[in-house]
Subunit: 396 residues, 2 copies
Amino acid sequence: MIRELLRVTQQSEVISFAGGLLASDLSPTERVQEACHTVLENSATLALQYGETEGYRPLREMIARHIVRYGIKASAENILITTGSQQALDLIGKLLINPGDRVLVEAPTYLGALQAFSMYAPEFLSVPTDEDGLRINLLEGPLRSGPKFLYVLPNFQNPGGTTLSGYRRRALVQLAERFRVPIVEDDPYGQLRYEGEHLSPLVVLDRVTLPREEDFKLGNVIYLSTFSKTLSPGLRLGWVVAPPDVIAKLAQMKQGADLHTSTFTQMLAYEVAREGFLDEHVKKLRVAYRQRRDVMLDALASEMPPGVTWTRPKGGLFLWVTLPEGMEASELFREALDRKVAFVPGECFFAPDWPGSEAKRHLRLNFSNAKPERIREGVRRLSLAVKAQIRELHPV
Amino acid sequence: MIRELLRVTQQSEVISFAGGLLASDLSPTERVQEACHTVLENSATLALQYGETEGYRPLREMIARHIVRYGIKASAENILITTGSQQALDLIGKLLINPGDRVLVEAPTYLGALQAFSMYAPEFLSVPTDEDGLRINLLEGPLRSGPKFLYVLPNFQNPGGTTLSGYRRRALVQLAERFRVPIVEDDPYGQLRYEGEHLSPLVVLDRVTLPREEDFKLGNVIYLSTFSKTLSPGLRLGWVVAPPDVIAKLAQMKQGADLHTSTFTQMLAYEVAREGFLDEHVKKLRVAYRQRRDVMLDALASEMPPGVTWTRPKGGLFLWVTLPEGMEASELFREALDRKVAFVPGECFFAPDWPGSEAKRHLRLNFSNAKPERIREGVRRLSLAVKAQIRELHPV
């Protein structure tokens, strides 16, 4: 359905809040061009040849150096390069899920994770969320039920736009440790924070609970991130951080899945990022996306009728709208398309165990792709569609 | 084991016949450099953005145009771009294999296929091969046993170096049709033929058996190929040709696995290949590889002691050596490494059902990577190792 939807929304007269696309006007083209030149001038043979399954070593080492800023003390042995974060989800599913195994997910959660894990036929168990993320006080029962792992997006969640609070992070890590349930922490948007303080990733908090060790050899968290939101999704580059024995097992899965990620794109990313270019680029993205988020929040506040609510994300690419009771996002979608504005109906972000009546009232809006004036116009069109739907439900 | 082996053989004093590496001195660097420039100059936004799961449409259309030369009449709807051929094997495993399903493979067969399929826990059934490929007269029993599919490499097989004869191809297609067993035809080396006539792929012969149809909508064969042997393995680009409903199902699997293959590398391959450059490049590769094959065959003939035999491939990258009875390739491997020459012991190319005693006497030699003088020296070292092993087994 999403693929069909993306096709519709590629028509230029449609204002799309649907995809998770980056601002194409902020693409770092020149730097990538320079990097292509450097890589092919100096190391073409290496770039065009087969490479190691674990990834291009200088890139793994660079990632290890860079993530120290988040408190993650890792070495190359803790890092596996993947063909986008999506591949990491697939490899984790392949490694950990046997048919019928229970997997805990947030409600709502990232659609692509549900798709990746579904291939391995788990039984999903959804845990409710609120503005502070996963509701920890409802987690003990699910953790007791013997799940294989818990999948969570603590920062600016896709689709919810919510952030797991610092208090809940510490509680979550302790609970997971107590019930010996591994955590898969997906953090594609961590660098795109527009306000407030950085919060420690679960992988860092988890290590505080461990016996003192110099190296990163143990741990209860598999951490995922990506170059898709900071450099380019079109290069398909993500990475996993985990204890070396987990990395070794995931590498074995990866070897069967695609041998290794493109050597050339890995070397490009290394060349682009190694002297700090990406840090500067991400600063620009933060300024632009914060502005777009604010424009969307303002437009929603001034255009939407009473009874419609939405989250106020502190970062990332998405916010999450809840419609008044009785309304359905899928019907609104048709009305909205007639008015040339698109979004993703929220239903697809819930695992099958979540009650349908709870899943139908939501929509995900992306605010990073469209320019501010298009965002304003799109929200205006969307609110007209909402008002039309409300009139239909409650005719005067 | 292979990964460890590749690490050892990267030492420059070791002459390696182990990997399936292309000749790095024949890498088309300049053309790739031009293509990078063109793609980023004209279409950077597209190249660095998310793309469609099925692949970059102009590349799919180009592949459809190019494969007509082999008699494959397909359109873009018949083609899925994959992250290397290896990913196609993984997606096919994911789509078709449930735990315990029977899968027919050649003995020996491509190690990477065994790895990819193994993740889905099939029961492998090995069918013997000879110099003309799969032994069709031994196939009826296995086909009757209700397998999910048959996996076969008809051209210059990896590791055997053998080619399925024209007669056997027609017989195979008819048998598979009769028993309604789909064929997965893996053809990474088809363009690298050094002598003899081109033989029709199974996917073409299969279509002759079908009711006349204008479009490629039906069929019993899933055909795989790749840019890894003609352009570069480091870009990780392969493709699948199949009826559109099979492509749609594989695309769904692919979406969960990595969303899509790098847009940038797809556009690069399109730009490099669209005006016929690859055809010219492949002609050069054929000349160089044929010479290297001949050098290896000559060296084997003059250096090896009696009792050692080998295949005489008409194309591809590998030949397959059989040692005298009682010898084991894994023991020879240690002896050979001491003499600074490496190969892949044949055992890993057999599915677990194949009798171990039959699997231990073989080695795979790659002839495309090393330059002729290194090939001669490597075979000399290898034959010394063989002679030393024979003396150990039969002391005078």
